[in-house]
């Protein structure tokens, strides 16, 4: 366009430009709110975080198998770590022996060097510095301690010592040091050695029965399997003996005990025993309902039998493997089927050395966020507990919003005596000391309810006690709105009262309600968490983030098992923070001046 001179500007005919109204620039209040919200980076981040939490919790809980009543105390209070099965690569083609405790494993390679991996329990994985370079001839582990014998026949013990299982008395020590050690064994709170001269020495334990050996067994032992509560012994005449008083010792078949069947190999699971006789027959005994009973015999020649915590692996000469056990829940049954050369199992870990010398591990990989006092996976409980925590908050918010809207609207519109009574009533509800009453109520009513009913009760109580703030806001808003000109105009037009309420006043009230909902949701989650933390909310075993923290009332848990409180508390914190960020954003978007007031 040609540039106009100043004269041109002044005197030329004005061009009439009809500006078309740009429809895209007109925005509805809803869009304005949306745009406001979108431009608030913090709020968007908060919303995104919240969506992420919800997605993780709901998708995760659909994917992760979960049995709320599952208990495995053997695995209690193990620190975070998912490397239980990560055997070092240098072991490939080089394994002499692998032994596994609950969360850790040791291996001796062909040059008698020690290798170890996993997560430490009670110092069982803290190998004394001077031993790291030594060569070892045998090693055994329990759930929390290690017994090893070096190439000079000297014993080394480390780890948990609460049964004094690391301390040999002088007599035993002399006997061990003068003889030739054939095998070391380690069970829960006890240690032992089997000597080449068929003697066995066992020490430690808090219950003497567990390791009570009859005198005539002591000098005839050729093999021993250390179990948490028993020792299975194989004597030189092919008979089997079991120490301890429980189902494993009482159900030992007579034919095994008296040496009628010549046993060549023994294996044990937690409360089960398995024996292999010289004529390729398998005989099982011990705790029932674990799927560990031998129901059929095999024609193929059996090379080896090994036991984990709840499985038996039967390795045949042709390299195939058969696995027994139905209660194994960490994938121990998922065994390698063919071309196996040797197989090792301990607790929930299994290692197969294949014919091509590679190591194939399977079983319990570990607990990403550690385990709790019942050996449950904290991560899995966190994901499933989140569902309850999020749900309790949402239902409570819905209840309180409904009551608040209802009472606030009625009080605002009807006014007069009704308003007065309702406001006095709301005053009573605010004067009710929230937490004490909540605690009292949930403990009184809660005892007569089932698990699920109790959860709903918590939601209802929190909701029913926290509507007052919203009711007052709504009432105030209505009192203001109803005096505005547009309502007067609507009234003058003869529009009915209920229509005025529904179409003209409620929308502005609704925005308050939505803001209030998003801001109070975080508070409700905190209330549930606090209540469950004290033990008055949702009851275990149903997990919520709050009741997972219940254990953190003990200083011991705070100090030693930090993963049991840090992760659930962080989950609550992050979720509530996200909700509050988003809630603040919604408030600012709806009423940009709110934060200035």
């Amino acid at each position: 366009m040609k540039k106009k001179t100043i004269f041109g500007k002044l005197f030329s005919k004005k061009e009439v430009v009809i500006k078309e109204v740009d429809n895209s620039k007109i925005i509805t209040p809803g869009q304005a709110v949306f745009n406001n919200f979108k431009s608030n980076k913090l709020a968007v981040t908060g919303l995104f975080m919240f969506i992420l939490v919800v997605a993780t919790v709901f998708i995760g809980s659909a994917l992760l198998k979960f049995d709320e009543n599952y208990v495995q105390t053997t695995l209690q209070n193990i620190a975070p770590g998912a490397n239980y099965l990560k055997a070092p690569a240098s072991l490939n083609g080089n394994v002499k022996k692998i032994v596994s405790g609950t969360s850790f494993s040791y291996a001796i390679d062909k040059s008698n060097k020690l290798h170890y991996w996993g997560v430490d329990v009670d110092g069982a994985l803290k190998v004394p510095e001077k031993l790291k370079s030594k060569s070892f001839s045998d090693i055994a582990v329990s759930d929390n301690h290690v017994v090893a014998v070096d190439s000079n026949g000297e014993l080394h013990l480390w780890g948990n010592n609460s049964g004094r299982q690391l301390e040999l008395d002088e007599v035993t020590e002399r006997k061990v040091s003068t003889g030739q050690v054939k095998k070391v064994i380690a069970g829960r709170l006890y240690s032992g050695v089997v000597m080449e001269n068929k003697q066995i020495h066992v020490w430690g334990t808090n219950s003497l029965e567990q390791i009570a050996l009859k005198t005539d067994w002591k000098t005839r032992v050729v093999d021993a399997v250390a179990l948490p509560e028993n020792i299975i012994l194989l004597l030189d005449d092919g008979s089997v003996k079991v120490t301890g008083i429980n189902i494993l010792s009482s159900s030992l078949p007579e034919s095994l005990a008296n040496g009628e069947k010549k046993v060549v190999k023994i294996a044990g699971a937690y409360l089960n025993g398995l024996a292999l006789t010289a004529d390729n027959e398998l005989i099982s005994w011990g705790g029932s309902h674990r799927g560990l009973e031998i129901t059929k015999q095999y024609d193929k020649k059996i090379k080896d039998i090994v036991g984990g915590y709840a499985v038996f692996h039967i390795l045949f000469e042709d390299g195939t493997v058969e696995t027994l056990g139905t209660t194994a829940v960490y994938g121990e049954q998922l065994s390698v089927k063919e071309n196996v050369d040797t197989i090792y199992a301990g607790y929930f870990q299994n290692y197969a050395v294949m014919k091509d010398n590679t190591i194939k591990p399977w079983g319990l990989k570990g607990f990403l966020l550690g385990s709790d006092e019942f050996g449950r996976d904290v991560f899995v409980r966190l994901v499933h507990g989140g569902k309850t925590s999020l749900l309790v908050g949402i239902v409570a918010v819905l209840i309180s919003t409904f009551i608040g809207l209802l009472i606030g609207t009625i009080a605002g519109f009807v006014g007069g005596v009704v308003d007065n009574v309702l406001m006095r009533f709301s005053e009573i509800v605010t004067s009710i000391p929230f937490l004490p009453l909540l605690i009292t109520l949930s403990s009184i009513i809660g005892t007569r309810l089932t698990q699920n009913q109790r959860m709903y009760l918590v939601m209802v109580i929190i909701g029913v006690l926290s509507w007052v703030g919203l009711a007052r806001l709504v009432r105030g808003q209505i009192l203001v709105e109803r005096e505005k000109d547009f309502v007067l105009a609507a009234r003058a037009l003869g529009i009915r009262q209920y229509k005025i309420i529904l179409k003209h006043i409620l929308p502005s009230v609704l925005s308050i309600a939505i803001v209030n909902m998003s801001l109070s949701y975080g508070g409700m989650m905190l209330t549930e968490a606090g209540l469950s933390f004290l033990g008055f909310g949702v009851m275990p075993p149903t997990p919520t983030w709050g009741n997972m923290l219940n254990g953190a009332q003990k200083a011991e848990v705070i100090q030693f098992y930090w993963w049991r409180w840090v992760f659930p508390a962080l989950a609550v914190f992050i979720t509530v923070l996200a909700v509050n960020l988003a809630g603040d954003g919604i408030r600012d978007a709806v009423d940009p001046k709110a934060n200035e007031k």
């Binding site: 006095r424 009533f425 005053e427 009573i428 605010t430 004067s431 009710i432 000391p433 929230f434 937490l435 004490p436 009453l437 605690i439 009292t440 109520l441 403990s443 009184i444 009513i445 005892t447 975080g522 508070g523 905190l526 968490a529 606090g530 933390f533 004290l534 033990g535 008055f536 923290l549 953190a552 009332q553 200083a555 705070i558 100090q559 930090w562 409180w565 508390a569 609550v572 914190f573 509530v576 923070l577 909700v579 509050n580 960020l581 603040d584 934060n595 200035e596 007031k597």
Partner: protein, 323 residues
């Protein structure tokens, strides 16, 4: 003003009665009454003796009377300071004397500290609105309101008490200590719970004071004051703050009730022998006499603080009593 107070007291009366009925009602819902508990404690008695004892006890605790009469008796007893008995036969008032003292001491510190800090920080944030200082406290209050109280408490225990070993993890000072050493020990035990409660309380009040101040600073009279050439100090502290004080007073007094009621969690985390942790242990021990007394006390504090808030509001803002 006097008339307003009287009017306010009159509205307080129905609320109080409703409260008392709710609390009495809950106490009637509790499983196992005093008679059952006492009988269970004397399980070795013969059947006939137990019957005699049951009748005598029922009479003693007035359980043979209809419920409305029991309510009146309970109300009368409560007013005369007789709050009933604990499970082990001590008067509730005696059992609660020590916890109440501890709770009040703890909360006095918290209120004082949080009031001071929130006023100082709130004013400064409002003056420096949008600056780093303001942002910091905005973030602080957001984080503070999103953090479960027990999480703050446990973190403090973990870092300060367990790892640095600076302060005790919780509990009360030994009763054998006397004089100054007792007082020092008490302070040492109190520091962590005070910090925990203060963070929780500050998170809300700082934001409130700041917003009240921002609002006051935007008023016309501030512009007038500034245009008169008054120093910024006078404008902020004398003109703005005085007016911002109204909402500040209400929120601070209003939060007292919440502090008392809400310290159950903090007191439990730090094993502080106060009303809140006593409530939790009493519920676990099914000691309903104590539970009801604590509820009554916290309810009374709530009513009282609500009442004081209203009066204070009316005092500083004469428009209130007209409406």
């Amino acid at each position: 003003m006097f008339k307003y107070i009287i009017k306010r007291i009159f509205t307080l009366i129905p609320v109080f009665f409703a409260m008392s009925i709710i609390i009495f009602g809950i106490s009637q819902m509790t499983p196992g009454n005093m008679v059952d508990i006492k009988l269970a404690q004397n399980a070795s008695l013969k059947q006939a003796d137990r019957e005699i004892m049951r009748i005598a006890l029922t009479k003693k605790y007035g359980l043979d009377k209809p419920i409305h009469e029991r309510y009146v008796i309970w109300l009368k007893n409560t007013f005369t300071g007789d709050l009933g008995e604990t499970v082990d036969g001590k008067p509730v008032t005696q059992a609660l004397a020590e916890p109440m003292k501890n709770t009040i001491i703890l909360n006095l510190f918290v209120i004082l500290i949080s009031l001071t800090i929130s006023i100082i920080v709130g004013i400064k944030s409002a003056v420096k609105k949008g600056k780093l200082y303001d942002r910091f406290w905005q973030v602080f209050s957001l984080v503070g309101t999103s953090m479960p109280t027990f999480f703050i408490g446990i973190i403090l225990i973990f870092i300060v008490a367990i790892n640095l070993k600076l302060l005790p993890t919780g509990g009360m000072p030994s009763v054998r200590l006397e004089g100054l050493s007792y007082f020092v020990e008490l302070l040492r035990h109190m520091i962590l719970p005070i910090i925990t409660l203060t963070i929780g309380s500050l998170a809300g009040t700082v934001r409130y004071v700041r917003n009240a101040m921002v609002d006051a600073l935007n008023q016309d009279y501030i512009r007038t004051a500034r245009s008169k050439g008054l120093s910024e100090k006078v404008v902020v502290y004398s003109h703005a703050f005085k007016n911002a004080l109204i909402p500040v007073v209400t929120i601070v007094i209003g939060s007292i009730g919440g502090l008392f009621a809400g310290s159950s969690i903090t007191e439990t985390v730090f094993s502080w022998n106060g009303l809140g942790s006593r409530l939790v242990s009493a519920i676990n021990a099914r000691d309903w006499g104590i539970v009801m007394a604590v509820n009554l006390f916290t309810a009374a504090i709530y009513l009282l603080t609500n009442f004081i808030t209203d009066i204070a509001y009316a005092l500083v803002d004469p428009r209130v009593k007209l409406s």
